[in-house]
Amino acid sequence: MDDIKSSKDEDLVVHYKAGKERAFDELFLRYAVRIKRLIYFYIGDMESAEDIFQEVFIRVYRHIDKFNIHMTFSSWIYQIAINCSKNYIKKNKQFDAIIDREKFRVKDIENTIDTPEEQIIKEMDIKEFNRAIETLGIKFKDVFVLRFDQKMKYQEIADILNCSERTAKWRMKKSIQIIVQHLKDKSII
């Protein structure tokens, strides 16, 4: 048990391939929250995100035999999650385009409800903040979520997105610039 808990991801894949079913469960539990968050960012709908979440792990389960242990498991599962999410968006483009989803909110709102400025940010500006993120091109969105929400290093982001670290950094900078420009155009800031 302890052996499995303290194993690196790639070692768990080896254990699983050797027949230890629990090694896969450990990988599932390790990545469940992060992958669900990532999918939710792309989809913005909890029910659909749940579907894609299951699909991601089914794909991982199906293809784990083909996983190259010289690669990081993290990059691999993130790639699968991003691809599944994008496929879903493509399929449901027409239906989802009409829904204005707010994926981001102001945190700790319960503690700041009486603060006037916070209140304003919550009710009005956060909508535009969300819209600004939606205006990002898909490549910029990828970098933005991995850095801003998942707090990943640029090297990891570069591995997942199959680009250079420098490109990832540039896309992040550009994303912020687009968001700031949008907020300025809307007279939010």
């Binding site: 669900k36 960012f41 029910e47 299951q54 994926k103 981001f104 903040f129 707090k151 939010i188």
Partner: protein, 665 residues
């Protein structure tokens, strides 16, 4: 560099650029610093997901059955669902504990023409059934009006060319408060007699009306006069300093306020009261000449309403009739409607089946229990009566309001109320056998569906319960979205549809989600036959879905935008459209017959062995199920019960003029 510091550095670099000068940097920092993904980790249980994942693997036949059983039978596999259920229960309890619950809302019941609502600086056009909340400003265009109800106390109609705002709306155990403010146009109100802690106030530009139970109309005319017409009960009206007149002297303001309060009037039934603007006089008054000039204010006259000066009479009468017609048993102030207007309008009370029925239950739901030969009659306000059609056998009352019909299991009646309680009542004696809380239905709307000796209860916020006949909770499952149709128990799974056209199948033994399918549009009605689910979409498509294979096997285009409901009977699917069309299909999607009754189908249809019994606005149709031919039809009084019920020889319903009505088949 950590992501946060890096983000702040990027922002600072940007703001240093010329085009971003004059940017509110502190707010920008705050926005990035305080924004987070709208994802509650506490509502997400990886362990539960793992259980579901393992199930999903078996369903998709990836892992065949061996791996699943290995997992399910291991101590770890057994431990996880219990742990997950415990976590869900804790999170639901905490959630409910934190919920503030006293903001009330209005529900739109009728809307004509173009009506817009401003909410949080955004404008939208509401629909029937939409809710109105505190702060909303409602504007009606020409030839447009809107009717909405607030709790079971009030029905309000805003007439054309009006602007009304909801300043306050509170519905709590300490009392109900409704404050409306009208700045243009007019409105009509039917207000039930209020409890001691309840309060309803209507502000106009030059007055304030306090109401304790009445029917009245308000109209603002072009001369900026306010007219009150009272049709029943009474209202107290106090003049106020008109909005158009600004008085800066605080002392003068207080004096005028005091004067108006002292001169408030009570307007009684059949009286009208007209308040002039008196702009000139009000401008001429100051603190020094107050005593002399205040007398120059025109004293609003109270006049007795007659046909000639009764400005809103016809509108009010129509309003009362439509309010009553819509669902009489839940309307406030019914006795008033009958008493006050019998002479002058068309409302009448001819011979009822029971002479005293008017004093008893105004039924919302009616159910016949063949085993006991009992007709159960349940009012929306919780009064329950059982009769053997000759005399009353028992009666009882539960608190709160009923929003959905009861379920009969053997000799037990199960029903839910607006206080989120599920009660079980002995049908023989009327005694309450047990009651238990059903959380997650703040509006009291709980769907109850029986299966054997158990009942499924589905709530608006997405909770599904399975409860035994003795009140024991067998399981509870929380879905992350609103449930949009009653639960549908199948062979191994119970199905529910939620928002966005998703159908979820849950294991009937433990409530764990097994399958999920997304349709292209929201599902409004579902039924089941054999291994197939028939799902009616909002946009007029009927899907035949096979949950075992997770595939849609056929589609049938109903060619209308809205579907009233679908039912299956004897392995056939019946589609009932609101406009009176009925279509019968076999389970392969082939059309058997189609008829058009030409009347709106207003109640849930009932099947017996040979026929289909349909109640429309004024006619009861008995239709041969085989060929769709009308066996016979009869003109009936307006049905006020939400359903009709049948036994072998008779059809029962409650009508507005006859009370309990029996038609011999």
């Amino acid at each position: 560099m950590n992501p946060k510091s890096e983000l702040l550095a990027i922002i600072d670099n940007l703001l240093a650029k010329k085009r971003f000068r004059h940017t509110r940097s502190s707010k920008l920092h705050l926005m990035f610093d305080r924004s987070e993904l709208h994802f509650d980790e506490k509502d997400f249980s990886p362990e539960e997901e793992l259980v579901r994942f393992r199930k999903e693997l078996t369903v998709t036949a990836l892992n065949k059955r061996i791996a699943w059983w290995k997992f399910k039978l291991s101590p770890f596999g057994l431990m996880i669902p219990s742990f997950a259920i415990l976590l869900i229960m804790i999170s639901v309890t905490l959630k409910n504990f934190q919920q503030p619950g006293n903001t009330g809302k209005g529900i739109i019941e009728n809307l004509t023409g173009r009506v817009s609502v401003f909410r949080n600086d955004k404008q939208f056009n509401p629909d029937n059934g939409s809710s109105l909340s505190q702060g909303d400003i409602i504007n009606t265009d020409e030839k447009s009006n809107i009717q909405f109800s607030v709790g079971n106390n009030s029905i309000i109609k805003i007439i054309e060319g009006s602007s009304v705002s909801i300043s306050r709306i509170i519905d709590s155990s300490d009392g109900k408060v409704l404050n409306l403010s009208i700045t243009r146009g007019g409105m009509l109100l039917i207000i039930k007699k209020l409890a001691i802690n309840d309060s309803i106030e209507i502000k106009t530009p030059s007055s304030m009306a306090t109401v304790r139970g009445t029917v009245f109309g308000i109209n603002l005319n072009d001369k900026k006069e306010t007219l009150f017409e009272v049709y029943d009960g009474k209202i107290q009206v106090k003049r106020t300093i008109p909005d158009e007149i600004s008085i800066k002297d605080k002392m003068l303001k207080n004096k005028l306020d005091m004067y108006f309060s002292e001169n408030a009037v009570i307007i009684e039934k059949n009286n009208a009261y007209r308040i002039p603007l008196d702009e000139k006089t009000l401008h001429s008054i100051n603190i020094h000449n107050f005593n002399e000039h205040v007398k120059e204010l025109k004293q609003p006259g109270i006049v007795v309403i007659s046909d000639s000066n009764f400005l809103m009479k016809n509108e009010i009468l129509d309003f009362i009739k439509t309010a009553q017609k819509k669902d009489e048993s839940s309307r406030p102030y019914l006795s008033l409607v009958a008493k006050s207007f019998t002479a002058s309008s068309t409302l009448e009370m001819p011979d009822p089946l029971f002479n005293d029925w008017k004093n008893r239950v105004r039924a919302s739901f009616i159910e016949f229990i063949p085993e006991l030969n009992l007709l159960i009659n349940i009012s929306e306000f919780g009064l329950i009566e059982a009769t053997d059609l000759s005399k009353l056998k028992w009666s009882n009352k539960i608190t709160g309001r009923l929003t959905t019909g009861p379920v009969i299991i053997g000799k037990k009646i199960l029903l839910t109320n607006s206080e989120q309680m599920l009660y079980c009542i002995d049908a023989m004696t009327g005694r309450i056998l047990w009651g238990r809380g059903i959380e997650g239905a703040p509006n009291g709307h709980i769907w109850l569906i029986k299966e054997g000796n158990t009942v499924y209860a589905a709530t608006a916020n997405g909770s599904l319960y399975k409860i035994g006949i003795n009140g024991e909770m067998l399981w509870k499952s929380t879905l992350s979205n609103e449930i949009s149709s009653p639960p549908l128990p199948g062979k191994d799974m119970v199905f529910v549809s939620i928002k966005n056209g998703i159908i979820i199948g849950l294991d009937k033994t433990n409530g764990i989600k097994i399958i999920k399918h997304k349709f292209n549009s929201p599902i409004i009605s579902m039924t089941l036959s054999g291994n197939h689910i028939f799902a009616a979409s909002l946009y007029g498509v009927l899907y035949c879905y096979n949950p075992q294979r997770d595939e849609v096997q056929w589609r049938f285009n109903i060619a209308v935008k809205s579907i009233y409901n679908i039912y299956t009977y004897d392995e056939h699917v019946y589609i009932f459209n609101t406009d009176g069309k009925i279509t019968k299909l076999n389970t392969n999607g082939l059309l058997i017959w189609k008829i058009d009754l030409g009347n709106a189908i207003s109640k849930k249809p009932v099947f017996d062995e040979k026929n289909l019994i349909i109640a429309t606005d004024r006619t009861m149709f008995i239709i041969d199920k085989k060929n769709g031919g009308i066996s016979w039809s009869v003109v009936i009084p307006n049905i006020v019960s939400k359903n009709i019920t049948v036994n072998k020889n008779s059809v029962y319903f409650i009508s507005d003029t006859k009370g309990i009505t029996v038609l011999k088949k």
